[in-house]
């Protein structure tokens, strides 16, 4: 059981499944999923999404941004939603994030509905991702006061810096899974503060290595890994700002 905070910095938590296709994708599938989740997610809308790729072509290196469309089923307060697209399911929770015990049943509901409606053959990728936005008072902060994971600037470089981004990928379970960890500055919304995004994404690297029946064992382990990594990324000073709830 991880720590609980009165002011958690999570702005979004999401669990994403990419499936091995089963029967050919049918446009009726989102509707079938909706029928199974509409009690909790009554609102519907179509949303745009982006996928990017970089390729070398005859005109040089090119970047492509493809626009995709997927259906979103939203809870009445629009803070939680299920997204469905071809061979794709995502369950998102925006701020305020409740607890894992409350988020997990939403994931299970979405997964069961998709599995019943689309009959996928298997799992290609699962990802559990937590995006944290951390606001710290001040115009000039020492990152090491707040973060155990941060950019390292060698002593022969200028020691004051502005925008930054740092990230690593960490293999787990004999490289079956990966934790992607990223820290970057963010746009400031509150005057006299600095804002930082800490993005943790634990995902299945090897397609097919988790069966449809064992998904939630994987998800539970993923959550523990993300929680451990989050705590390892921050210092006690940040924990104090988040106000730990004891007991």
């Amino acid at each position: 059981m991880g720590k609980k905070y009165r002011n958690p910095p999570i702005i979004e938590a999401l669990c994403e499944f990419r499936f091995e296709p089963g029967p050919p994708w049918d446009l009726a599938i989102p509707g079938l999923v909706y029928e199974k989740v509409r009690d909790d997610f009554p609102k519907r809308r179509q949303a745009r999404a982006f996928e990017t790729s970089i390729s070398a072509g005859p005109k040089g290196v090119e970047q492509e941004v493809r626009t995709l469309y997927r259906m979103q089923f939203l809870r009445e307060d629009e803070k939680a939603l299920i997204q469905v697209g071809p061979n794709l399911l995502a369950v998102n929770h925006l701020k305020p994030y409740p607890t894992w015990q409350e988020f997990l049943p939403l994931i299970q509901k979405g997964f069961d509905a998709y599995r019943d409606a689309a009959a996928p053959k298997g799992i290609r990728r699962i990802g559990l991702r937590y995006i944290n936005r951390i606001e710290i008072p001040g115009q000039r902060i020492e990152l090491e006061d707040y973060f155990e994971f941060r950019p390292f600037v060698g002593p022969r470089l200028p020691q004051e810096f502005g925008p930054f981004i740092v990230g690593i990928q960490v293999p787990y379970e004999d490289s079956r899974d990966t934790l992607r960890l990223q820290l970057a500055n963010a746009s400031v919304e509150t005057p006299n503060t600095v804002a930082v995004i800490l993005d943790l994404d634990y995902f299945l690297t090897r397609p097919g290595k988790v069966s449809l029946d064992n998904v939630f064992e994987w998800v539970d382990v993923a959550h523990s890994r993300v929680e451990e990594a989050f705590e390892a990324c921050i210092t006690d000073r940040l924990r104090q700002m988040f106000e730990e709830v004891k007991g």
Binding site: L14, Q63, E64, I165
Partner: protein, 176 residues
């Protein structure tokens, strides 16, 4: 190693997904194609390892990352007046973003390539809660020519598309 917020405010937040001005919107295929060789910030990294870029560009199915990406894309096309105010307006009305992206290429069709367009939140002085976003197309064209182009723009695209704005967006012209 101090991190300086002031420096950040004077520069764009570092999000490695800035489309260069030369980016071309291809609405018919829902695709942006751009020559990343012109992408000065990161062209070396791109040339050395596309995988590196893919790593940082992950948007996935995140709602906040998608919104952030769309807003960054908008910022490549439009100039935002009172930046924070426009962002707050758009965050509350995300359905405007795809419309604005579509609008830019239509504006370019009628007012020339790479038009300078400003976005500004305008408040009714007698009803402070009554706000709308206005896109001001800046042009040096003669006024008669501008009116003619604006009329064609309205008839061919905007009158049909404007319902998507749900009364939250106006498009005007302005002269320098």
């Amino acid at each position: 190693m101090p991190y300086l917020a002031n420096f950040q405010e004077s520069a764009r937040p570092f999000i490695p997904f800035h489309l260069p001005e030369q980016a071309q919107w291809r609405l018919e295929s829902g695709m942006v194609r751009t020559d990343v060789m012109n992408w000065l910030d990161l062209s070396v990294a791109v040339l050395e390892s596309p995988e590196v870029m893919r790593f940082w560009q992950e948007i996935g199915t995140s709602i906040v990352r998608t919104l952030e990406f769309e807003i960054r894309s908008l910022e490549q096309l439009y100039t935002l007046r009172r930046h924070a105010e426009v962002l707050r307006f758009l965050e509350r009305r995300p359905f405007l973003i795809p419309l604005l992206l579509e609008a830019y290429s239509n504006i370019a069709n009628y007012f020339g390539p790479y038009p300078q367009v400003f976005l500004e939140v305008v408040t009714d002085p007698e009803a402070p809660d009554d706000q709308e976003l206005v896109a001001f197309i800046r042009t040096n064209l003669p006024p008669d020519e501008v009116l003619d182009r604006l009329e064609r723009f309205d008839e061919d695209w905007w009158l049909e598309a404007s319902h998507k704005a749900q009364g939250n967006l106006c498009i005007h012209v302005e002269f320098p």
